[in-house]
């Protein structure tokens, strides 16, 4: 555990970048520091690997004050990833990743083998090994940065806005990759971002900081969304925090119906049977084709082109209530389509039913507060 204990950082020019900050960063999970630009996130992060020394207060790692070990030893036990990756442009990708293993005395061969292993882990093609950084895209460079930080298998990973400089699509890929890697490796990650969506997506716990370097709220994302501690946090979360909170509710409980689902080769009787305003037509394998009003369908003559679009289906279990609601809202009929992992329709659900599920989920979360919000004991609020 990394324990930050009433730490203040005052720069020589008098700027107070961090003000009496206390945080307990749990092991083996992602803790996100988020807040507006200039609120002291980078300063806080860099005090953890002693790139910056606190003016007051102490930081300890597993109970030992950071000051107790040589600064290079400390830094070698913490991977460090920065915004523009900061790759060594004179070294190949493989040698960039092998830097720390080489530095701590592994042989060249072993270091390179390890580097090759990490390229695979972060989703880089082995053919990039001999390239130089300038030959890679921004997203690929950032992956190299992550691989380089992980190379010597440090227990701690410090990441300062690592995905801020890439476009949204690439960023999403990198975030998913980080979550996947974290599932496999279980590092203690401190992740800095100014993007609240990123914080909510990645963080097990999120520390919201306000300008002046003070902690506003320290809580798991679901609690942040349901109980913002003050106006600042609420504003920072944005207008649609209610919708976003739905990401934390499972869509499994939704009651699906298969009544309005018909196959493209349905008989006239089958078409007439359901008592529903719309029918969802599937192909012979059960994949959705589109919606239609019962009267518009003629048995034996259903063409996919004539149907209403079905929007974007959701996968109960894998997707959240937010995805289900999104589906229902996007669907021209107001019904969301549920599919299995293979894309075959398992049922449909109305906006109304989704709405009921949301209300049920909210009341369950509110009564079972402690369970829903996680480790409430580590949540601390700035004075």
């Amino acid at each position: 555990m990394i324990r930050i204990d009433s730490v203040t950082k005052r720069y020589p020019d008098g700027t107070v970048a961090v003000d009496r900050l206390s945080l307990e960063i749990p092991d083996r999970s992602i803790t996100v520091l988020v807040g507006p630009s200039g609120c002291g996130k980078t300063t806080t992060l860099r005090m953890i690997n002693r790139m910056i020394e606190p003016t007051e207060g102490t930081i300890s790692l597993n109970g030992a004050d950071l000051q107790q070990q040589p600064v290079t030893t400390l830094r070698r036990s913490m991977g460090y990833v920065i915004q523009n990756a900061g790759l060594f442009q004179h070294r190949t990708i493989l040698d960039n990743i092998a830097t720390v293993p080489r530095m701590i005395g592994w042989g060249r061969r072993k270091s390179r083998e390890r580097a090759a292993e990490l390229m695979e882990r972060v989703g880089l093609d082995a053919s990039l090994a001999k390239r130089y950084p300038y030959q890679l895209s921004g997203g690929q460079q950032q992956r190299v940065g992550v691989a380089r930080a992980l190379a010597a298998d440090p227990p701690v990973l410090l990441m300062d806005e690592p995905f801020s400089a890439v476009d949204p699509v690439v960023r999403k890929g990198l975030q998913d990759e980080l979550l996947r890697i974290q599932d496999e490796l279980g590092k203690t990650i401190v992740f800095v971002t100014h993007d609240i969506d990123e914080a909510i997506k990645l963080g097990s716990t999120v520390a919201v900081m306000r300008t002046g370097g003070r902690l506003a709220q320290f809580a798991p994302p679901a609690e942040l969304l349901s109980n913002p501690v003050d106006d600042f946090v609420e504003d920072f979360l944005g207008a649609d925090r209610g919708i976003r909170r739905l990401s934390f509710f499972a869509s499994e409980g939704l009651e699906l119906t298969t009544d309005p689902v018909v196959r493209v080769d349905a008989t006239a009787e089958q078409l007439a049977a359901p008592d529903a305003p719309y029918l969802l037509v599937t192909d012979a394998e059960g994949r959705p084709l589109g919606w239609a009003e019962p009267g518009d369908l003629t048995a034996g003559d259903i063409v996919a082109e004539g149907l209403l679009p079905y929007g974007r289906p959701f996968v109960p279990g894998a997707d959240s209530l937010r995805a289900a609601l999104d589906c229902a809202v996007l669907s021209p009929t107001g019904w969301a389509v549920a599919v299995d992992a293979g894309g075959r329709v398992t049922g449909v659900v109305s906006q109304q039913a989704v709405g009921e599920a949301i209300r049920a989920a909210h009341s369950a979360a509110d009564t079972g507060d402690a369970r829903a919000v996680g480790p409430a004991d580590i949540a601390k609020v700035a004075p």
Partner: protein, 221 residues
């Protein structure tokens, strides 16, 4: 007679090609003076430039020293030192070293300063020691500029090393000074041509050094 005839006459005189006053001997002497001056200047300019560039401290001092050194006339310095310490290698070396230090020092300083701070920050954050950061992260990236500073210094020293002949030493300057004294323009033009060729050869050496020493990742080719 035009210049080309002088050049032709100078190089086709077989007497020029051997003996203590032959072209090979004079070239060798010239290259020796150049290498020696350049070596001393680099031994001073490179470490000082690298360290000041790395720490960011002493930039003003570097600029001041460089400007002051540039203001000193090489020939004046030669005469002055020759008067003080007498004739020999020292009055030749000092002005050449003084001439070579500013381009090496200033360019090296600037080269290290202009290295992208992000990889340096990353290196420090991963626990690299400062000397390694300078030599393994900053220098490889700064190398093209550092080499260009050495190259300007080398070119200037090659041309200026002709002054060695004023204090009775050898080098290609002998042809020029003796030629002027004897009103033998064939010698003067021949000597000047040799200096120009040597300068071209210097460029070639640096071109090759850059190809060999600078990483393709930095050259971006």
């Amino acid at each position: 007679m035009n210049v080309l005839d002088f050049v032709n006459a100078f190089f086709s005189d077989s007497a020029q090609w051997h003996g203590y006053d032959g072209i090979p001997q004079r070239l060798l002497e010239h290259v020796q003076y150049t290498l020696m001056a350049l070596g001393i200047a680099a031994a001073i300019g490179l470490p000082v430039g690298l360290l000041t560039g790395h720490t960011g401290r002493g930039g003003n001092a570097v600029a001041f020293v460089a400007t002051a050194a540039r203001a000193l006339p090489s020939f004046g310095l030669l005469v002055l030192i020759a008067v003080v310490v007498g004739i020999g290698l020292l009055p030749v070396m000092i002005p050449l070293v003084v001439l070579a230090i500013p381009p090496i020092l200033v360019t090296t300083y600037e080269a290290v300063r202009s290295v992208d701070p992000a990889p340096v920050d990353a290196a420090r954050g991963m626990g690299m020691h400062e000397p390694d950061i300078l030599l393994r992260v900053e220098l490889p990236v700064a190398l093209p500029l550092v080499l260009s500073g050495l190259r300007s210094a080398a070119i200037q020293v090659v041309s200026t090393a002709t002054i060695a002949a004023y204090v009775s030493l050898g080098g290609i300057g002998r042809y020029i000074i003796d030629g002027l004294y004897q009103r033998d323009y064939e010698k003067v033009v021949g000597g000047a041509t040799l200096v120009a060729l040597l300068a071209l050869a210097t460029l070639a050496v640096f071109w090759a050094a850059e190809r060999l020493a600078v990483s393709p990742g930095v050259r971006r080719r």
